[in-house]
Amino acid sequence: MRVASWLPLAAFALLTACPWAWATWGRAGTPQFTGTDERAKQTIGELRPGYRPWIGPVLQVSHGAEAALFAGQALFGVALVVYSIASCRHLKAQERGHASRD
């Protein structure tokens, strides 16, 4: 694997692992990460006390279901990428086949 390929991968792994490690060993207890939207909601509460959303989400999901849905979204994305790359390779192979016959 070329340096240009593994270097970003290593940096990605490091950047993702460090916060986990810090949260696990740097602070006592289970790591808790508040969503950015929760922090934004707190800021809205400070700027406009008593503000309530005028409409709620179409679908209310529990945290467990949310995690599963996010995993589903990621799987769907992976499937799309794999299908597209596989089709590209298939096209390339077809072109090579045509070229060798010609």
Partner: protein, 232 residues
Amino acid sequence: MWRGGALTMHIMEGFLPASHALAWSVAALPPVAWGMRKINHQLRERPETRLILGTSAGFSFVLSALKLPSIAGSSSHPTGIGLGALLLGPAVMSVLGLIVLLFQAIFLAHGGITTLGANTFAMAIVGSYVAAGVYRVGSSLRVPFAISVFLAAALSDMATYLVTAMQLALAFPDPHTGVYGAALKFLAVFSLSQVPLAVIEGLLTVLVMNLLRSHAMDLMARLLPSLGSRVR
């Protein structure tokens, strides 16, 4: 174990006043319509471009499902917009970004239908055009390929949060310091998690672009001739 609130970075349902939500939807409409026109044209001319569309949409779906923690104790996710903006152009990626946001708004209670216009404007439109613009400037200044791609993806991510912070600040100005003060507060909220995420997004985009460049770029450039002028 992962615990926390709804791990999201888009403006939540009902968190923009109706007039603002409507105004951002109207603002997002022309670029999205232009992007749809371009997709229709590309698919009619070269149906195989659906493969590049699939790769870009898939990458965005995967990245926006990656809930990553930050040292600050908050979490958020990258957008995955940069790659598609470089491969397909910003107009087309605006539409794909809208599809990702719509999916999340309907099925994940992430973002919202009423805030879809504002989120589309920030992520799919501004994010895409910033990525394409930064890459173009980098290329014209002969910045190395990987650095141009990294900057394009990372700054696209940062631009998304900058615009989101501005949208919220316009809706909820600080009683004392006005829109400017509120914008600084929202930027402080986002910057803690988004700066590291922007770096992660930049790195992942470089990784994927390097792989595509070495294995499939010749074929992709033949499928979509304008790609050759965008990505060298």
